[in-house]
Symmetry: C2
Subunit: 267 residues, 2 copies
DNA sequence: CTCAACCCTCCCTCTGCGGGAGGGTGCACA
DNA sequence: TGTGCACCCTCCCGCAGAGGGAGGGTTGAG
């Protein structure tokens, strides 16, 4: 039987951390003295503590560590670990994208995005909509678009999405993805046929992956601000070339439409 | 002049986050209304906000972001960014090591480390010592060892280190690195000639990089516990083959000496 | 039997983000 | 000129996972 201090020496985990792991149900001491509360560990628990330590080095949340430890079946356990490694790889990809984008931003050559003012007529679309958080929007978008694809056989234009301002200002908002159609389709699942109202948009096109789309948003927003046009509704993205057209992110083209009130007299 | 909400839309940062960045001195609004406290931003601040956003994606702490933004000289700024990228790479290496080690740990084949009981005589050494935290110990070690190398011309054995138990149990403790010598050397900088006392050690050898040295610590500690030998002092590491001998981490050999009281009658 | 080293619990701190309460502002429209 | 509503403000609390430290009980060697 080892005291918590001895166990800490052998595992290189601090006494505090061991107590926290006990409290979290990750590493129950072999025995706890009922009167004094002293924790006593068994030498057989050393490898368990080391597995925990390795998982924490990989930033696996304590709750997931618990789940992994409670999983007896080696295959299921390996799957849980693999799932986390998957997440690490995605994070690595995001990190690399951020590095590339940062280097571009720090070079003092403004991109100079072309902005155009456009009158968009009302449009019949098949749509899926929901209120989601900023963190969930990517996953939700993928599901909604897949569902749209199963229902809409003959789209008459590229897919698009309407993004409530609150999504950006407060991290949660109303989102609608749509595919333009010629004739109404029956309501299936979450898909509904609706008519998007006509709009006046300031439009810019973003080329490449969506990691850096905020740069184009910034340029477009700046243009709108410079031209003193009031904002009046959700932003409208149109996926001219997207993941469904080519897997090469560099070839994607996304049109961003920023709603404005026409200030000049021409109607 | 843009309100905080408009600025949030253009930069894809939440209103809350912008307020926090203001408070932290990262992104001062172009104007703050003295009576209402309303923040007003300039469109020219959009790229700045985007740089902050990219740095935060790279997990640069707000304090460092501030430092980077306050640095006018592009070269110095690039150096700060490069420094952080360096840290990211090190972290990546640690992550990969943790993955490899985890896979080994989850395979149910115990390594089976050979442990030996050894009487070590007193030894004259040139040493550098300090009280450091667990997080700092690697950097401190590198500096101390480099300083030792400049003073000691003729070591009579491999370098080693004494690690106070508190370093492991409480994350901060006394550490001493040393090189054995035949004759005392003059005190230069932090280097002193001292005599390490004789000791009784349980000894095991760890092969490979230090990422996984806790596994050998665990095996050794378990052996000591199984043989009911009381611990009585700092752990002693000896770097039989280390980074100064070969850059190939897989070839390193580190001897770990765990102080014990001899229980058998033989003296 | 004494005393130091150890252990316990409880509460606070840090970082960077979000939620929500309670209350003041700005501006279009009547 | 009021009214209403969207917007803005500050202040406090929550989360994760680690450390710091206070105040007090236990253990065990001399």
């Amino acid at each position: 039987m080892l005291t918590i201090g001895e166990f800490a020496q052998m595992t290189h985990l601090s006494v505090r951390t061991l107590r926290r792991y006990h409290e979290a149900g990750l590493l129950e001491p072999a025995r706890v003295d009922p009167s004094s509360g002293y924790r006593y560990y068994d030498a057989a628990q050393i490898p368990v503590a080391q597995v925990i330590s390795r998982l924490r080095e990989l930033d696996v949340p304590l709750a997931n560590v618990r789940k992994i430890l409670l999983t007896q079946d080696p295959a299921a356990r390996a799957a849980l670990v693999a799932e986390h490694l998957q997440r690490l790889e995605e994070q690595l990809a995001r990190t690399q994208a951020a590095v590339a984008s940062l280097q571009r931003l720090l070079r003092p050559e403004p991109a100079g995005v072309a902005v155009e003012l456009r009158q968009v007529p009302e449009q019949l679309v098949a749509a899926v909509e929901a209120t989601v958080t900023h963190a969930d929007v990517l996953a939700w978008y993928a599901g909604a678009m897949a569902e749209l694809d199963t229902v809409v056989r003959e789209p008459v234009g590229p897919a698009g999405g309407l993004y409530d301002n609150a999504l950006f200002t407060h991290g949660r908002g109303h989102v609608l993805v749509h595919v333009p159609i010629a004739e109404p389709v029956p309501a299936v699942g979450r898909v509904r046929s609706i008519e998007l109202p006509a709009a006046e948009l300031a439009v810019a096109v973003h080329g490449g992956a969506h990691d850096t789309i905020d740069v184009t948003y910034g340029e477009l927003g700046r243009w709108v601000a410079d031209h003193a046009l009031a904002v009046a509704g959700p932003v409208c993205e149109t996926y001219l070339v997207g993941p469904r057209d080519t897997p090469v992110a560099a070839h994607w083209r996304t049109e961003i439409g920023w709603p404005v009130f026409r200030v000049t007299g021409a109607v």
